[in-house]
Amino acid sequence: MTERSPAAAPAPDPDADPAAGQVAGGRGKAAQARRLHPWLWLLPALALLIPFFVMPLGILARNSVYRDDPTALMVPDFTIDNYVRMLTDPYYLDVFTNSLWIAFLVGIIALFVSYPFAYYVVRWARRSRKLLIWAIYMPLIVSVIVRVFGWIVITADSGLINNLLVGVGFIDRPLQILYAVSGMMIGLTHRYLPLMVLPLVNAIAKIDPALLTASAGLGAGRFRTFALVIVPLSLPGIVVGFQLVFAGVLSDYVLPNLMGTTRFRMLAPAIYDEAIGNVSWASAASMAVIMIVIVVAVLLITNLAFRRYAPWARTL
């Protein structure tokens, strides 16, 4: 129960022992080389991340305080005008609230779809287990564009769902699913479902079956055991899954574009339009920075809340 994740306890490297380094201090260079040795392992990752991730982020942050200019693209400056506009102009505010709302909603829907599935996979599935896990991994393997075309066939005005509903006589005219919020949410939910299911499977699988036996032995029925033992103990998976889905939906570009509607603006396409359509690189950058801040803030707040209200979780 108290085992730590491997990442939390790096294997001690005798060569990296600082005391050993001091003892060998007289031999100068050799000791120094030995101290540096562990860091060499990070080199390939750093070589990729610094120029292609850290530096662009820095440039983005810098651009966000520049001024857009109709003739000169961007003028170096230091102004918070972009941010002020983003947070006061109703158009941009809508973009942010729309995206936050959809990210939250999809996170919740994904949770309610995934939880029973994950629970079934862990508790009941025997031979079907591999198949079910594979079905969850599938979307990660198949390109999202390919899947979008599938959903279009199903959700279009003359698609499978509408044909069926009209055919049965449930409705007179086709429902607007594709190119509407509902179609976009179907796509988003499916796209990010694996990121919810996998942490849940992981968390539920970690629950010691003896705890469920103990709960029954103490007089608790199925519902009480589920609500007071299983759900709380799978909270780590719920939190991680929600964070992943939330961050993914908030920054998704493909699905709002291919299945959503321009009458309900989402953040990532709006940033693209701002930069490419309006040629306003500075305001686009400030939107991007706000988005990053929102994601980081949500992650931090959920983590802090989790640590505060579930202090036991670190010992699982």
């Binding site: 029954a216 007089g219 036991w312 010992t315």
Partner: protein
């Protein structure tokens, strides 16, 4: 199904009348059998446990003792046979309506609940009032002596503390029967022996009917009023610790009960018509009282415990032939151990400290004797 337990009046089904023998029988198992696939895990187990009695199910791993306990708790269903708890036929009663309290081998404390929440879990499930629950938790905390730990999470407890909390949680619901499933085996040796004594005193003071499962003879003897020895899914022998130790009824029981010397031999007939046992190493002695199934010519195994053997420099009634030789003397503190060799057999002799190694040393020729009633002779199958 009404709420379980002694808080509600237990149902009195008609079948209860068949239990005329005992209002004081808390648990009755009749012909209980269990299969796991093709494995016959329990074979026709029948036993009564009286009120306030502590029964130890003792046996090697895989003998079915834990399975039997899980059937009592309702976590497993028997394939045949009946389970009665306090006169109630409970075969079809789910575990959460049985009012048994189980202590698990690895405690199974809820890691996301504090000690207080763990103990009150079963009380909340019984929908008791907040005051009663508070009172009961206090009672359990002082009973098992872990004041000050109430708000801790299990991860912040030592093994011994977890053990106490697990017992407290099981006792808090005032179970009809307390079930201990290898409950002490996760503790280290010293702590385990301490807990054995403490638990033994506590359970007797509370007068709570208990079934404990263990593979540790000392634990069974320390805690159990009666021992039920199990082997291959069968209850082999039931009795008080002394009975099991001094009057083992089968080869398995003797061998399981600790380090006994095993001597093979045959039953022979003397001139007077009395049967004697002659061991391969040359001991000759009358068939001990209470032995059965020993016809003339039968191959037998004779068991004598190391502490029941005595050494002497002179030939004895049992050992009149060629002397044995002491090949090793080991000082073990409270006692000394002699390894002696006689023809092809190696025999262990233990004498308590007072008798000391004095008088006998390595290389000596010695003769052996033992009280006849301390020798167990069983047919060699």
């Amino acid at each position: 199904m009404s709420l379980p337990s002694r808080f509600a009046t237990p149902d009195q089904p008609d079948e209860a009348e068949s239990l005329t023998a005992g209002n004081d029988v808390d648990l009755r198992l009749v012909g209980v059998s269990k299969f796991f696939g093709a494995v016959h895990a329990l074979k026709d187990c029948t036993i009564d446990v009286r009120r306030n009695e502590i029964l130890a199910l003792l046996g090697p791993s895989g003998c079915g003792k834990s399975t039997l306990l899980n059937i009592v708790a309702g976590f497993l269903d028997p394939d045949a046979g009946d389970v009665w708890l306090r006169g109630r036929h409970v075969n079809d009663v789910p575990p959460n309506h049985r009012n048994t309290g189980m202590v698990f081998q690895h405690y199974a404390l809820f890691p996301h609940m504090t000690v207080r929440q763990n103990i009150s879990y079963g009380l909340h499930a019984r929908k008791l009032g907040a005051e009663v629950i508070d009172q009961r938790v206090k009672e359990m905390v002082s009973l098992l002596k872990f004041e000050g730990l109430e708000e801790r999470y299990p991860a912040a407890l030592s093994g011994g503390q977890k053990q106490r909390v697990a017992v407290a949680r099981a006792l808090a619901i005032r179970p009809d029967v307390l079930l201990l499933d290898e409950a002490l085996s996760a503790l280290d040796k010293n702590l385990r022996e301490e807990m054995q004594i403490e638990l033994s005193l506590l359970l007797r003071r509370l007068g709570i009917t208990t079934i404990l499962v263990t593979h540790d003879q000392q634990e069974a003897f320390t805690l159990g009023d009666r021992i039920a020895l199990m082997e291959h899914g069968r209850i082999i022998q039931v009795g008080q610790p002394e009975d099991i130790y001094l009057k083992p009824q089968s080869k398995f029981v003797v061998e399981f009960m600790g380090s006994a010397n095993r001597l093979s031999g045959t039953v022979e007939q003397t001139g007077e018509g009395e049967g004697v046992v002659r061991t391969r190493c040359g001991f000759v002695f009358p068939i001990p009282p209470g032995s059965s199934g020993l016809s003339t010519g039968r191959s037998v195994l004779a068991y004598v415990r190391a502490e029941d053997l005595m050494l002497s420099h002179e030939p004895t009634a049992v050992h009149a032939g060629a002397p044995a030789r002491i090949v090793l003397v080991t000082f073990l503190g409270a006692k000394s151990r002699f390894v002696i060799e006689l023809s092809d057999d190696q025999i262990l002799v233990e004498r308590s400290g007072g008798d000391g190694p004095a008088g006998f040393s390595e290389g000596d020729n010695v003769y052996v004797s033992f009280p006849l009633e301390r020798c167990h002779v069983v047919p060699d199958d």
